[in-house]
C-alpha cells in the first residue's frame, strides 16, 4: 500500500513536470536498454558517491547481508514515468543515527524526526543518482517525496518485479541495504 502511494506520487510529480517532457518520454523506450538500467555497478557507484560527497564517508559493497538490529529505519522513494518502481534504503536504528550525525554534525540519542529526514534525503539522493546514470531515465523518470518507516519485525513484499537489485554496503560504523525495484518499464 505504501509502495503504491509513493509510486503514484512519483507519477504525479512526473506528470506535473511539463508536457514537452511527456512527449519526449513517449518517444523513448527503456526496454531496449534494460541491461544498462539494471546494471548493478550503477547502484554501487551511486551509493559510494552519495556517502562520499554528503557524509565524507567511504562505503563499500559487501557480500554479507547488512547487520540486523532490533529496530530498523527504511526510506522509500518511488519512481514514475518511463520506469515505475521504488528505491529503498534500510539500516538499523543505530546506523541511521550515525548517518544523520555525519550529515548534520548534530548528536542524536534516538531516531527522531531529523534522523528520519536525513535517511529520507539519503534515499532521495540515491534514487536520483541511480536514475541519473542512465540518460533516458534522468530525463524521463520522476521521484516521489521520501516516505520513512521505523519499527521492528516488518517486511516489504513486491509481487513479481521486472527486476530487483538488493545490495548491502558497509562503512566504518555501520551497514545498510539499498534496493531498487522496477515493476514496470515503458
Amino acid at each position: 500500500m505504501l509502495l503504491n502511494g509513493v509510486r503514484n506520487a512519483a507519477i504525479a510529480t512526473k506528470r506535473g513536470s511539463g508536457e514537452k517532457e511527456q512527449e519526449r518520454a513517449m518517444g523513448v523506450s527503456l526496454r531496449e536498454s534494460l541491461q544498462l538500467v539494471s546494471d548493478p555497478a550503477n547502484l554501487d557507484a551511486s551509493a559510494e558517491e552519495v556517502f562520499k560527497m554528503m557524509l565524507g564517508i567511504d562505503c563499500h559493497r559487501d557480500s554479507e547481508p547488512m547487520v540486523i538490529e532490533p529496530e530498523s529505519v527504511t526510506a522509500v522513494v518511488g519512481f514514475g514515468g518511463l520506469l515505475s518502481g521504488a528505491c529503498l534504503f534500510k539500516s538499523g536504528s543505530s546506523t541511521a543515527i550515525k548517518i544523520a550525525a555525519a550529515m548534520t554534525g548534530m548528536e542524536f540519542e534516538e531516531v527522531d524526526d531529523t534522523v528520519k529526514d536525513g535517511i529520507g534525503e539519503i534515499c532521495n539522493m540515491l534514487a536520483g543518482a541511480w536514475k541519473g546514470k542512465v540518460p533516458d531515465l534522468a530525463a524521463n523518470c520522476g521521484l516521489s517525496i521520501p516516505a520513512v518507516i521505523t519499527g521492528r519485525d516488518y517486511n516489504l513484499h513486491v509481487q513479481a518485479p521486472e527486476f530487483k537489485l538488493v545490495h548491502s554496503y558497509t562503512f566504518d560504523g555501520g551497514s545498510f541495504e539499498v534496493t531498487i525495484i522496477c515493476d514496470g518499464l515503458q
Binding site: 513536470s17 539522493m125 530525463a139
Partner: protein, 112 residues
C-alpha cells in the same frame, strides 16, 4: 564577506544544516529559513516545491536582483532549463560537496 546574507529555504532540517555548513565554510553568514513561504515577507504559500517558490518570488518581484541557486536531485537538461526559466542563476545537483556550493555561490555574490 560576512556582511552578505544568504538565505536557505528548504523543508528538510538536514539539508538546511548541510547547506548552512557549506556556506559557512565559504565565509558566508547564512540566514536559515524553515520552508518555502516562511522566508520572504509577502509570500505566504507554505509547502510548495523549490521551483514554484522561485516562480512566485520572481513573479511578485519580492527579491529583485537577488541571485538564486537551486539545489535538487533532478539533473536532466529539462529540469535545469525549467530552473533557469523560473529565474535561477545557478543549479547544484545532489549529492554535492561544500566546495561545489562555494564554486556556484561566490561568483554570483561577487557579480551581484
Amino acid at each position: 564577506m560576512s556582511e552578505i546574507r544568504t538565505l536557505i529555504v528548504d523543508d528538510s532540517t538536514v539539508m538546511r544544516k548541510i547547506v548552512e555548513r557549506s556556506l559557512r565554510q565559504a565565509g558566508l553568514d547564512p540566514l536559515i529559513v524553515y520552508e518555502a513561504g516562511s522566508g520572504t515577507e509577502g509570500l505566504e504559500m507554505p509547502s510548495m516545491d523549490g521551483l514554484e517558490f522561485l516562480r512566485q518570488l520572481r513573479a511578485q518581484n519580492l527579491a529583485p536582483g537577488v541571485p538564486v541557486v537551486m539545489i535538487t536531485t533532478e539533473s536532466s537538461e529539462e529540469h535545469v532549463k525549467q530552473a533557469i526559466l523560473a529565474g535561477a542563476q545557478g543549479y547544484i545537483r545532489k549529492p554535492f560537496t561544500a566546495e561545489q556550493v562555494k564554486e556556484r555561490v561566490l561568483p554570483l555574490i561577487n557579480a551581484a
